[in-house]
Point group: C2
Chain length 360, copies 2
């Protein structure tokens, strides 16, 4: 069950040479996993112009021997500070690249053992945005597990059921479908609660006329999936709600159609946002249209107004426009897509047409 | 359902004056929650000699008004970097204390807006080790929920059941008992798997003669609980296993008896470790005897050989010795205790006598 995806240090060494630094220090656990394949919770990597060394302590000796290929493995004895002091002095590292997300404690330790510190913002994170076939395979399985779990829970999404009860069942089924961890607590937001984009499930019972937003994710080998569907409970006057749903669903489609290799991420956001505005709901879509998904549930690229990123082949991200009207309720529809041969392929497969749950 | 525990800024202001710094910057979310009561995911606090200001963005306007008492609330407009620049210049902050756990990015932003940076290692974390009555009440509820969930699952812990299946049921029951989050995935380790202290559940089916270690935690209002019980499946020759269990249980008792106000944490560790050594199992207890529990599942004090901390009244921590023999299996028994009127009170209430699960 170990993640075998890892990277030959040579790819990072090319970047180091280009940046004219002696070495790169990596300790963010997701970045470390991406580079070396290591899934444990303590370690770091040091990539110099001609070496790729992975460091961990004795607890992970066996595991790292199994997981970490293509890298020299160094099992630390004693304090990490001493390991770093010795190895930096031995290798003569003077100009060090480091993740700008590192803690001050680590930064301070590193700067005491080198001459020049060069912060690297999102260096490995940028590599991670481009998924290879194996990674996309894992994400697809994470989607499949999420969808399988949802279909088992769907019959219970009806008037009288509580948000908490549905969320609980969904998490249970996610684990049962094979997810070893869940990326976030499943959101179930009904009626007036559905107008808050980040509502936590409550004991509220679903009623006729409610929108019910379900936002959940699955996992496979450390890779996540993220999706949202909104159901409508039948009632006498649901015509405006049907209209709102239709607008969100069209916004989703327009965004996906815009998602192509080479476009700016903010153009995808604009496609959804402008359509919602044009339909008269401009003040009611207050979050970003999407985000990258992989080893982290939220990663690059950001699909938002502020994003400065461009879309490239083999990126994986969500498209999730919504309309939220206080007192009435909200709709969000979230698909995951990947860019293949220039255009978006939808990874999620549950239908997005409006489903109206009839009274029994 | 919001956590109402918070601290008047005056307590921090006393510390600031003593440390001769102009202000303290706090952004660790658990520390922020502890100080201000804020449970959201974005904000920071600035405590100067005469002000306690809490900053967050518009998404948390309503929530912070409800949660954050005794603090001035400032709703940020635009980028956090600009907020910091303006407020530091307005208040004339020259000598700034900051959490040494902060990221390099924040550190770098802060140092550009002040003259002197004074790292503070575990300043708020140290305050958090001493729990007040309300916090202990929340921890007790977290224990109660964990125990309630365990008792529902216990009948299923028997030969033929899989580790994964038990872990899954336990997590389901934890959520059902009211836990809004689970501090860590429930560990269920049987037979030879039980000799690895941090084993993840597998599809292995429990067999006669197995030790089954269950290590799990509950939650209430953001506060966690953590406990472990080990059951033994009946078989013909379990006499050595009974003996090992007895040694671990006595080690647990000896450690708890040693846990008194004023002792060094490492004396508690030694009480368990020395007893296990004296009984002939010295190489088979490779982890610390315990750790503090509160808003974090692992916090100060560390109850280990290396610990330099002393035990004080109203601390809450685990006592969890174990013996792990490769190929045979392992035993760990974990209670949570708090120090009241000088001595340890056990917060966990499930019995620790050996339970042998008979064949049916």
């Amino acid at each position: 069950m170990f993640n075998k995806i890892s990277m030959n240090p040579e790819r990072i060494q090319k970047i180091i040479r280009k940046k004219k630094i002696d070495a790169l220090f990596v300790s963010n656990l997701k970045n470390l996993r991406y580079l070396t394949g290591f899934t444990g919770s303590s370690g770091f990597a040091l990539i110099t112009k001609d070496k790729g060394i992975f460091f961990t302590d004795f607890r992970y000796k066996e595991q790292s021997a199994y997981e970490v290929k293509d890298w020299e493995i160094f099992i630390e004895k004693g304090k990490r500070a001493n390991t770093i002091r010795r190895i930096f002095s031995k290798l003569g590292i003077k100009k060090l690249g480091f993740e700008s997300s590192v803690s001050y404690i680590i930064f301070d330790l590193l700067r005491k053992n080198t001459t020049e510190m060069v912060p690297q913002k999102n260096l490995v994170e940028r590599l991670r945005t481009i998924k290879n076939e194996e990674e996309i395979g894992k994400i697809k399985r994470a989607v499949q597990r999420a969808e399988e779990a949802f279909l088992k829970v769907k019959p219970f999404i009806r008037p009288g059921a509580s948000e908490n009860g549905i969320s609980l069942r969904l998490e249970y089924q996610l684990k049962k479908s094979g997810c070893r961890e869940i990326p976030f607590n499943a959101i179930v937001a009904s009626g007036k609660n559905s107008s808050m984009p980040h509502a936590k499930p409550t004991n509220r019972k679903i009623q006729g006329g409610d929108f019910v937003i379900i936002d959940w994710g699955g996992e496979s080998d450390g890779y996540f999936s993220d999706m949202t569907r909104t159901l409508l409970m039948d009632a006498n006057d649901i015509s405006e709600k049907k209209k709102i749903y239709g607008i969100v669903n069209s916004a989703r489609e327009k965004a996906i159609m815009t998602a192509k290799e080479g476009v700016k991420a903010k153009e995808i956001d604009a496609a959804a946002r402008d359509f919602i505005k044009q339909e008269g709901y401009s003040g009611f879509f207050g979050h970003a249209t999407g985000h990258g998904v992989g080893l982290d549930i939220h990663e690059s690229p950001g699909i938002s107004m502020q994003s400065s990123e461009s879309i490239a082949g083999s990126m994986v991200f969500t498209v999730e426009p919504g309309i939220y009207i206080p007192g009435i309720g909200g709709v969000r529809i979230e698909d995951m897509v990947t860019i293949q041969n220039g255009s978006a392929i939808i990874l999620t497969s549950l239908p997005t047409e409006l489903e109206i749950v009839k009274k029994r």
